[in-house]
Symmetry: C2
Subunit: 690 residues, 2 copies
Amino acid sequence: MKKISTLLVLFSFLISTPAAFADEGMWTFDNPPLKQWKERYNFEPTKEWLDNVRLASVRLNDGGSGGFVSPNGLLVTNQHVAAGQLQKLSTKENDLTKNGFYARSRGEELKAPDLEVNVLVSFENVTERVQSAAQAGGSDKAASEQRKAVIAQIEKESIEKTGLKSDVVSFYSGGEYWLYRHKKYTDIRLVFAAEEQIAFFGGDYDNFTFPRHDLDVTFLRAYENGQPAKTPNFFKWSETGATDGEFVVASGSPGSTARLLTVAQLAYQRDVGNPLQKQVWTARLNALESYSKLGAEQARQAGGAMRSFSNSLKRLTGQQDGLLMPRMFAKKEAEEKTLKDELAKKPALQKIYAPAWEQISVAYGGLPAMAKRLAFSNLAAARLGTIALQLVRYSAEIKKPNDRRYDEFRDSRLESFKFGLLSPAPIYPELEETALTAWLAEGVKTLGANDPFVKAALGDADAAEVVKRAVRETKLKDVAFRKSLLEGGADAIANSTDPMIMLARRVEPIIRELRALNEEKILNVESSAGEKIAKARFAVYGRTIAPDANFNLRISYGKVKGYEEDTTLVPYKTTFFGLYDRAESFGEKPPYDLPVRYKNGRDKLDLSTPLNFVYTADTIGGNSGSPVINRSAELVGLNFDSNIQKLSNRYWYIEENEGSRAVAVHSAGILEALRKLYDAPELVRELTGK
Amino acid sequence: MKKISTLLVLFSFLISTPAAFADEGMWTFDNPPLKQWKERYNFEPTKEWLDNVRLASVRLNDGGSGGFVSPNGLLVTNQHVAAGQLQKLSTKENDLTKNGFYARSRGEELKAPDLEVNVLVSFENVTERVQSAAQAGGSDKAASEQRKAVIAQIEKESIEKTGLKSDVVSFYSGGEYWLYRHKKYTDIRLVFAAEEQIAFFGGDYDNFTFPRHDLDVTFLRAYENGQPAKTPNFFKWSETGATDGEFVVASGSPGSTARLLTVAQLAYQRDVGNPLQKQVWTARLNALESYSKLGAEQARQAGGAMRSFSNSLKRLTGQQDGLLMPRMFAKKEAEEKTLKDELAKKPALQKIYAPAWEQISVAYGGLPAMAKRLAFSNLAAARLGTIALQLVRYSAEIKKPNDRRYDEFRDSRLESFKFGLLSPAPIYPELEETALTAWLAEGVKTLGANDPFVKAALGDADAAEVVKRAVRETKLKDVAFRKSLLEGGADAIANSTDPMIMLARRVEPIIRELRALNEEKILNVESSAGEKIAKARFAVYGRTIAPDANFNLRISYGKVKGYEEDTTLVPYKTTFFGLYDRAESFGEKPPYDLPVRYKNGRDKLDLSTPLNFVYTADTIGGNSGSPVINRSAELVGLNFDSNIQKLSNRYWYIEENEGSRAVAVHSAGILEALRKLYDAPELVRELTGK
């Protein structure tokens, strides 16, 4: 029982207070919260400290974070971040998800099929150049096109100059634009993975829960030119790990927050967007669940995606619960009103920026009418469907000049695009068939048989029938065939009789039409209006508020600290004692069963070793695998979750007094397991030098 | 975070449903829930089973429950139930609360100073005789006096006939009267007590919490004629203890519930009674806390009472939180309305019973005006004050005929009264002085200097001054002096110059006047009206609802079962692993520090042994120490607490789906500790025969 009274006090305090709170914010490296660090934690990092942290941090394009932990390319992340690769490396005979993995020599390290890892090597403010490209007085559409053109130009120049992956990234809904240059690693090999039973001990029940007892850890190694990459910037592994009360920093790539949205945008998410998202994920999860019940091998194939959808749904429920609280909305409305009131004190600016809120509100008025079409008009439920659509779309886009293409087909993105498209990862046709059939059936149910997408996809036929043929007969399972279509150009696509390509060709015009509609009615308006609101906010508050997360590198901070719940105390950490208590207390029934290694190895462990811990930093999905480091940039833990009190932090920062916490694996617990249970002396030596 | 949505569903379901819910009810032994047991658990106990359970169950007059666990008078209860006696047996040099205790031979067993233990040996329905004594058409006052007279007569007859402690007890607010005969043990000796650090591990934080890790256990032995009592009815100790899902029964003496109160009575508790009670307990706790800060010995003296007040306040807060929920009141109003509507279908009865609600409502209208006076006009904050008032009051009451005295001075109660009054338990004058001074100061603050009680107590003097003299100079610390006054009669009291007696003499007329007023305006009305409402309820629902608890023996039932909380699962049990996890996780900071025996003995334990568990039975304060038994009447656990979800069950039964649970020490955990940590083979042999 959360203490409601405290919650009320909190909210009444928050209303109309625009300033950043204790430990709030996922900060960009160009604007770290130096003032807060100094004032609250007496911490003043050098430029070298910040550069080192940034260069030792990695983003995994599967959707997570990690960090280098040796000079030889060794990097650590969560087992659940690497779960997709583990599954792709698994077979019916050897399930790495279930069994875990340890390469006793470099020769045994397994190449991940399609994992790309990025390091942010430099960043440059290009706001002025991008914003000034949009000519005053033009339409939103014209402005968007002008911005796109200059962005493509900036990226092209950067690639030519540096050879680095170069992306112009928008912050503050277009309030700022930055050129981010990443070093890219695509030869990533698996060194170690914990068994899912221990990486995800307690399953979906204990997900977003603390106390927690998970060894959610994987080690990978980046290679260059067939050799371990030289990574002079890395986090030294702390053998003692996080201690109560200490200052820590999490460096990672939080995926998405929505704290700076307008009230109209939030109301849309609450009333339409989130319920629709729930329907989408539930439909996909249900299909996978029915498939997984066919047998152990089917369960293995569907396991990773099921875990992922369950996780997303649990998080979405928490976020929506927050958004449904009337007080939450009162706070958001008050914040918006305060900003408008402050803006009114600057009449010259008010005249330019104030209309933006109404522009967004008007645009969003039309969104519910097309939301279901936007959500269901795709083939993403099957990897084969995705591949087919990518090929069809690529063949059309590549013919255009660079600055007129869809964002994802700009020259700057093509290498990563092809890396994913041509991945040798296994495809399971039966799983694909079940998933895509269920998806289209849900589409028919939701959109009706006369919907343009439905008609284009199915004609008069049954979803099962269309999908059966498309999945069974397509040759897209073959990487070489994909490559031939990719290289064959528009003709090869246009003339293909592959049934999945044909299905994609039929639906693509509908999808393009919807995308254009969405850009015109919503996205272009959001870009223009968003820029105005951002400028209004800068004018009033300066640059004291961190931008919303966008899966680029951020730095969060806080302290290791327990909390109060249900009138009792939750300690800052758990130990191996707690792991065995929880397993025993449930009679080791799944999801509270232990890997054999843990059952048999109990007496080898020092059970008082810390296993997980909590800290107050502001994180969100995408921060999974973020190194949690101390003042000396030593890795004291590995972020892997948040507790339930923190779920609605997508929309607003939740004070530490509310018990909102990030959850991490403790560095000492990882070492203890590696030493005593996994017999991994080489890995331990690489981490500790011992 | 309790899942509010579930809560709403629950309440909408409860509204206007009068029937008993799953596992609801603290049942008297004359009306055990045989139907529910058979239907839900396929359990059909024999009369012998029920008789044995009743005769093996004990009530401790310090306010708790227990059970015989050997044929030689050995009984088990909670450490916290015996805490008062432990403190009275302690000295500055040997603090049994802190150090625990184990008598390695019978000769080492320590006699508790003033503990009385009762066994319910028979019961008899005397409703007809009591109710018919009140003549129709008379006033409420006359009716009360007439009932009192016949009650005194019934008790007297029973004592003369059986020699047993005989009390006429009211159930259903006077809807039924039963003659309860108890066998009384007053020579109770201490055999074993766990250290408070482990009996109350986690302190006030973990109180009313689960998962929990407390060995809240004391063993006592009843003696008769200087020899261990023969107790052929006892609970066999289960070595395996409670298992997941099994049917269990708790047999004990729940103190007080308020589920059958009228809406007017509940509204009074919510708006006046509970806030006032909170003030009273907070004032007393604060005084003790300030005293305890003076040093270790002072902390020892005040420790037990502080623990007790903290416990009461945490419980009261939970109860009041429940009562403040608008839906709770909607439910109560709906229940009352349903009963009235059903009554209306029986016009003859309606005519007699229906006015009762209004009568209570009118009476309660005048209660707030005198509530503060009733709460503060006493000297109960100091034991010396209590003793003085008891002596003064006794001297006046004893002169009256038996049936005209205050209830507590009826012949049937005198033995127990004198046993308590003449207890040799130590009295700490400095503690008494601090507590009584603070109490009177709070009285002055609350009632004002012109209040009759305040004026009588203090005149124009300061509380500190009056109390200082009374406490320091009184001879009441001396048991022999008390005895001389007890036997000296009214003259001895009237002529006494003992300053505490003089203080009591001054305030006693005020207290009597208030008591008379309360009886006239409230209690007599409640008795008459309560009887009518009870009869209305019987007429509508029969005897399907258990009476409110009144510290007499009851039987509760349910199953051993975990629950869901915060979207995760709470297991049905904890293990010693969990104890060490929690201690380690808090760095063994108090209240999470362990006794030395536990720190040093860790490796001796099988850490997977269950320590505590939860079950669904309907219990409340007073059930502490209740044996939790299985179908074979084997003791599988020892009730010691409820979790926080259950706190408001004073006012209504909370469904198991809400996570409401009773908490017990596991019988296997107790054995494991006795064997491995306490080296108590004699005690283990007596419990297990091994």
